[in-house]
Amino acid sequence: MTEINRLDSGGNIDRTQKITFTFNGKSYTGYQGDTVASALLASGVNIVARSFKYRRPRGIMAAGVEEPNAVLQLGKYEATQVPNILATQQEIYEGLTCRSVTGWPSCDVDFGGLIGRFMGKMLPPGFYYKTFMKPAFLWHTYEKYIRKAAGLGRSPKESDADRYDHVHHNIDVLIVGAGPAGLIAATRLSAANVRIMLAEETTEMGGSLLSSQQDINGKDAKVWVKAALKDLQANPDVRLLTRATVNGFHDHNFVTVNERVTDHLAEKAPTGQARQILHKVRCKWIILASGAHERPLVFGNNDVPGCMTASAISTYIHRYGVIPGSRLVLMTNNDNAYHTAIDWYQCGRTVIAVVDTRPNPEGKIVQKVREMGINVFAGKAVIDVRGRNRVTGVVIADIEPSGQAVMGMLTTLDCDTVASSGGWSPVVHLSCHTGCRPKWREDIQAFVPGSHRENILFAGSVNGHYDLANCLQEAVNCADQIILNESLTVQEVLGDFKVESALEEPIMPLFSIPHTKPVMQSPKQFVDFQNDVTVSAIDLAVREGFHSIEHVKRYTVMGFGTDQGKLGNINGMAIVANALDKSIPEVGTTTFRPNYTPVAFGTIVGRYRNQLFDPERYTAMHRWHCDNGALFEDVGQWKRPWYFQAYPGEKMQDALNRECLAVRQSVGIMDASTLGKIDIQGKDAREFLGRVYTNAWAKLAVGKCRYGVMCNEDGMVFDDGVTACLAEQHFLMTTTTGGAAKVLEWLELFHQTEWPELDVYFNSVTDHWATIAINGPNARKLLSELCEGIDLDKDKFKLMDWRQGIVAGVPARVFRISFTGELSFEINVQANYGMHVWKALQVAGKKYKLTPYGTETMHVLRAEKGFIIAGQDTDGSVTPLDLGMDWCLSNKKSFSYIGKRGMARSDCLRKGRKQLVGIQTKSKEVMIPEGSQAVDNPYQPLPLEALGHITSSYFSANLNQSIAMGFIKDGFNRMGDTVYYPQPDGTIITAEICSPVFYDPNGDKQHVE
């Protein structure tokens, strides 16, 4: 393809660097500095997409982020696919491969186009709701085809080949947009010794000045831009970002900025470099200088390729040296758009006419255009466009000064490009993200930012100052306001300027051009191009009773595309206002939410992927577990061995059976380091324990341990564990693995807010101690081989005692406590020695067939003994009484411990509460799935009356039967009763209520010699 629309000179492109790229399978060329859009326009490509609903051919309309049509799927390889890239933003690089996201089989030949042409009438707004409602079961069939037809790109099937990163910034001033306002504000502030970030969405700083013919300080504006940038770059406190979109303005001046670092360089970022960076910026002040988007006027067939916004055409001419056509008709309701006619004319191509909707435009620029010999038709409007794949002409008619009707003779003009300008819409989006509403300005027919609580200032066209002199002055004022507010000293007054004011005549309030026919019969007048929302669709929605703009939006889907209605929404609101006979501010805008533009998932994730996604917490013995066949279970963020495979491929149940039998027959070893451990010191430690635990602590002697249950104020169990008395005023509390942080905070909460008079300090020592539990009849023999300084005699070192000694050469605290019902010791050593002691036990344990076991075996063994697990057998609605743990409550304590009053409420004491009992299936090999609900009569009419659910259910190898625990209404009084557990597959499991202690009910095993 030759670049038929490339001008011989001009544009900020490097003409020595020719680049080849592929679009929809065809090869095109362009230059370094081109976007895909500018290069395609240079090559005369008309159609870049098919429309969403009607499958109409669509061309490039804009030059920036507001572009609705030119949406691309980027990427040569599966792992580098990126959906929904804008051709107007994506710069070309050698080998770039992209395609339209819409159109099947291609956007040039689209079978759907036929549907659009002949069935368009059958696709009114809300057609999903109206058409696909019945029969409901077919929706899944419809949905598949609708989604395929809609097609807005696809996500890659392979994981992203690139890296992404996050960077935090704490700065004084963030300036959004490096147009004239942003640049001059940065310049002025740069003398004030503050930290500044200037973020520009496009590839180049300068904004409108890059395609302006105005002078600043008597020189070409581009010269001023260059000088300003040079000074800013030299200042280490100024951070300049290009290709960086400020996407979200969040509470307390927190802003997210998405920088596309290497998207313009290659398919994949250079090794080690992040493709995109998410900057998380906390700033004292924001100067929003985000500019304005030109909005097109709405008219018949305004979507035919060749219809563009006026300013986009100027941008293509000035920045890329591309003129997207030969014969131009320009329609405008304001003076500003006349610049485009001049630009076009000066490129040596034909301006057929300027069609001005105002009855009598007499501005300076209008005169200038007339003097150039260009036809200016006043009081007229383009009502229809001819052509299908490219504009071939326009139909114009007289328009009433009110803009409400067209009349008179229709004239047809031949042309290939229609530029339109309906005025400018300030990019107020960021100003609205924290909930503020924009306000309407009648004089400029636009919404500008409303009042704010935050330290955010507005400068330039975002605030309705389109004239360069006003725009610069406002930016300077913003900078001065910050300098004043922060009492900054300025070394040098920078940013003075001299610019000639270019006064313009007022804009005509006009958004949509009426047709000679009524709305429903006129040619399609598109408002939202990406979603194919037309004037008649909005009209219909209003007539069907949708009067709130938020409802109209959802019914017509206006503004729902990847462009979020940047081009069309204001026109849509004006059309709704007109249909409702209300003013635009009465109708208001829809809600602007972050993000301003789509952000890649990779950027949101940053480097927090795979293993970095969420911390995995390891114990000191973790590596041994990995090397010895452990499969892991997540407990909070901890990785705990779940069970160990004795050989690769060992089945879970086989491993559990083996581990369970080994513990009860000889000895097993488990890593218990993850249990929460809290060091408690102070003269009131004992008193404090008595207040937070349900049982008594006043008499626990040094060298002893006690099990305790913690409740919430409502009397419900929330954690449990063993606490040891280390010395008179010194205790070590253990908590569940998952409850550690919560319990420590709970203790601190009550200490800091309720009982600050108690002298006590809490500190986490969870990570400091490695805890190794050895369980089984041979546990004492094993320990005696490695232990010095502790008399292990069963009468000297009793159950619930702790002793200090040496284990495997390392000082240790050994606790004789048991969660399995076997003889058991928990050995605590400073964690740096954990691996050494663990390995020494493995060696010494060989002769006892010492078997490592994981959490699942622990669960089975404790369930055989009827021990609960807080969080599994409790769910925040269970009191100690419901668990049959009355023995754990002390009513002698003078202080009303936490939970006491709660569990004394009438509902907690009533008859018929669900109580935790053992459940024994009639067929001993059958296991009841956890969560199954018990009923007395499985054949009763629906709904079944549920008695309670199964909380724990295992196969016990030691008993060679299934065991379970669960809640049953009034269960303690129903021992021996039969209950039924209906299953989703229709089967019914029959079971008997029994004691939860299935194994060694007298507790002899933990006292073996």
């Binding site: 293993q611 970095l612 911390p615 969870t766 101690w769 008399d791 702790w802 002793r803 964690a831 020695y833």
Partner: protein, 222 residues
Amino acid sequence: MIQMVTSNMLNDTQHPDEKNTIKPALYALMDQCTSGDVAMESPVVHTAIANDGIQNNGIKVVEEAFLSHLVIRGNVNDQDFISAIETAASMRLPEKLQTSQGAHATIYWVSPDEWLIATNKDAFETEANLREKLSGHYALVNVSGGQTRLLLSGSNSHRLLHAASPYDFHLSNFPVGKVITTVFARAQALIHRKSIDEWELIIRRSFSDYLALWIEDFIISC
């Protein structure tokens, strides 16, 4: 004068009271280290930071393994507490968000009633020495096994911090000597600026494999 619980006392079947020479111990002080030939493993032993550390492009991270870490709790308005600590440690107790540096130790402010002392001296001796001077309401906790100290250095070290934490590490807000506890990657760290381009990070043992992976991921791509 406070007495310590020692291992042989607890093995004794006699109640401590029955021994006339010794009063009941209020706190359990324990020598948790061994001089024997026993292999120690630091929290980052299985990561890229182990041994010589990891470095690239102006960022270096090494571990300062096996230091003694002691948490000190007490009331800053209790002059006896302050002078006892300062006498025993021969160091000032640092003010809010500050550290004080001694020949063998650094004391870090952690919270209005909490400090951390990290020293290359023996933890048991340090604690015993402190307890000997201290009285009234206070706490000392040996946490040497539960955390470790990393030294982050190099001209680009601030870049790693800005990627890991939302805090403002600019010299104007974070002068040399300052210390904070804050979010670091998706865990947390105590961060102390030791010099312009040197930062101490104190991290918890159980998070150290994760944090070492994060640091490695950053450093190889920086």
